[in-house]
């Protein structure tokens, strides 16, 4: 059926353009790549130049390029204990957030995907809410509670706060993956006497593995680049990289080269893991499922 549909579509749409379909594709490609170069690659290149500015000559107003380049800012960054601590804090927090979100999400995602029940719409909507209510509001709300119970300014507090943001995404991605798993498998295992924990570990986890990979990697990225909740619950004691970047940018003296170096230390793992997640997802399914059933 689908084959037929796409065949008719090609017949109807592509025949008028048949004389030069290839050239049209090239023009589109050139246009889109030019746009992405202008809006993404060039700005990142200028930022990179800022990270390489030689402090002896500086990079002042009329110069379009720095007079001389140096690795001194990069060298200092890797010798900077505080910055390296931030990097490891960020990596640790993101890893824990990823695992915690996955573990908490699986049972709930299974219930949403496979079990029909009355209040499902309300629960689905409630689970969507933390994706829509802005992080600053969630952060101030949870900060208000954490100040009272002593979880503010601690790494566990930051992990719990960030999980509010990644868990809904994980639940939605896993639910979308689990929907395609036959219910018979679970029922058979249950009839044969498997406990819910065993069913989860031996059947659902392996079958929903693509969802775990995509959702997990995106949760990691979401946690790694999170700022508002971390800033309110954790700063200044818990300094993740984004909080560090904020202090570099928001201070009285703004030092562009330092901010540029921190920018790349934040971006390198983020973009790398995002590429891995993109490879793990065959299409935009997981990303779209996380944001809405479109």
């Amino acid at each position: 059926m689908t084959v037929l549909v796409s065949a008719t579509e090609e017949l109807a749409v592509d025949i008028p353009a048949a004389p030069r379909p290839a050239r049209r594709g090239w023009w589109l490609s050139i246009g889109l790549y030019a746009a992405i170069t202008l809006t993404l690659i060039a700005p990142l290149f200028v930022t990179f130049l800022w990270s390489m500015v030689d402090p002896k000559t500086g990079w002042f107003a009329p110069d379009v390029l720095p007079r001389s380049l140096s690795l001194i800012h990069w060298q200092r960054a890797f010798e900077d204990r505080g910055l390296m601590t931030s990097l490891f804090t960020s990596l640790f927090i993101s890893a824990v957030v990823m695992i915690l979100s996955a573990a908490l999400a699986l049972p709930t995602a299974y219930a949403l995907a496979k079990i029909p029940f009355k209040a499902k719409r309300a629960i689905e909507m409630f689970i969507l809410a933390p994706l829509i209510v802005p992080g600053l509001i969630v952060g101030v709300g949870i900060g208000f509670v954490f100040f009272r119970i002593g979880l503010a300014y601690t790494v566990p507090g930051v992990i719990l706060a960030q999980t509010i943001g990644t868990l809904p995404f994980m639940i939605r991605v896993l639910a979308a993956t689990l929907e395609s798993i036959p219910a018979d498998l679970v029922n058979a295992a249950r009839t044969l006497g498997a406990s819910p924990l065993r069913i989860g570990w031996h059947i659902l986890v392996p079958l929903a593995w693509p969802g775990f990979i995509a959702g997990g990697l995106l949760s990691f990225v979401g946690s790694f680049e999170e700022f508002e909740k971390t800033f309110i619950v954790g700063a200044p004691q818990v300094e993740t990289l984004t909080v560090k970047l904020w202090t570099v940018l928001g201070g009285k003296v703004m030092i562009f080269p330092n901010a540029a170096v921190v920018t790349f230390i934040v971006l390198a793992p983020t973009i790398l893991i995002f590429f891995l997640a993109e490879r793990a997802m065959k299409n935009d399914g997981a990303l779209a499922a996380g944001m809405g059933k479109l």
Binding site: T8, L128, R148, L167, L294
Partner: protein, 279 residues
């Protein structure tokens, strides 16, 4: 059994998301606030809506939510249409264009400073031509804020709109073309209306995320007016005025809730109608 399954995920969110919002609601009404007597009052809401500072803040919040939404829609719709076609290098582009999705907002703000601020890259490049950029960072129209937020929103919108456009059945387009509609007419009168729920959903999400934005307007926005989100942060963390901060949080959450319901309706109805047509 069902409750046990729902408990880890939904229970977690109830405890760490629902409960704090409920406490904030009580505290906005003067109940259980730190450092103040506990007594029911509408004082904080009255202050929020009568003070000219906060009213300017609300208006500014609406402005910096609407403007990026409109700008990114204008870019994302053509981009989503382009993504429906096949072209050389499409696979790489399909990954590259999504990068701003995962770039932290602070990084986006920093890059806007480097490029658009006075003495930034753009003004340096225009200098030999005798041209001067207007003030774009910390300016009264919050142009820098709009650029940074739209930059982050475009791939997100394009992703959702491209998804919505892809669900428009091919035979409908073919039928329109056979009946004599041109490419543009087919797009405007068949594809666009069918993809409209997806477009609206994307616009709603971008609007609400801009409403609560904090880092970008604090780094790139004007000194005055400031959006409600920044006032909320100031009242909570610096003034220790949790009652007023909670009232602001509740107003912002109420906006988010309205959008949440609209978004949920749009996305689930799209899901159903798409499913219905496939059958």
């Amino acid at each position: 059994m069902l409750l046990m399954l729902l408990a880890p995920g939904a229970g977690y969110l109830l405890l760490f998301f629902g409960l704090p919002l409920a406490l904030a609601f009580l505290s906005s009404l003067g109940i259980g606030t730190i450092g103040a007597d506990s007594a029911f009052t509408f004082r904080h809401y009255v202050e929020l809506f009568t003070s000219s500072v906060y009213r300017d803040g609300i208006a500014f919040s609406v402005y910096i939510s609407l403007a990026p939404t409109i700008v990114s829609l204008a870019i994302a719709i053509p981009l989503a249409v382009a993504l429906q076609a096949s072209f050389p290098g499409k696979r790489l582009f399909a990954v590259l264009y999504k990068i701003p999705l995962v770039v932290p907002a602070i990084v986006a703000a920093f890059v806007v400073m480097i490029l658009f601020d006075r003495g930034g890259m753009l003004s340096r490049m225009l200098l030999p031509f005798g041209l001067q950029l207007p003030k774009l960072v910390r300016d009264d129209f919050a142009i820098g804020v709009i650029i940074a937020m739209a930059w982050k929103a475009v791939p997100f919108m394009a992703l959702i709109i491209a998804g919505a456009l892809a669900t428009v059945p091919g035979d409908l387009k073919a039928a329109a073309r056979t009946l004599g509609a041109g490419r543009l007419a087919t797009f405007l009168r068949v594809e666009l209306p069918l993809a409209l729920p997806g477009i609206t959903a994307a616009a709603l999400l971008v609007f609400v995320s801009s409403t609560g934005a904090f880092a970008v307007p604090s780094l790139l926005g004007p000194i005055y007016p400031r959006p409600l989100s920044i006032w909320m942060y100031e009242e909570a963390m610096h003034e220790n005025n949790w009652g007023l901060a909670s009232a602001m949080g509740i107003v912002l959450s109420a906006v988010a809730c309205v959008i949440l319901v609209a978004y949920y309706r749009l996305t689930t109805s799209v899901h159903r109608s798409a499913g219905g047509e496939a059958r």
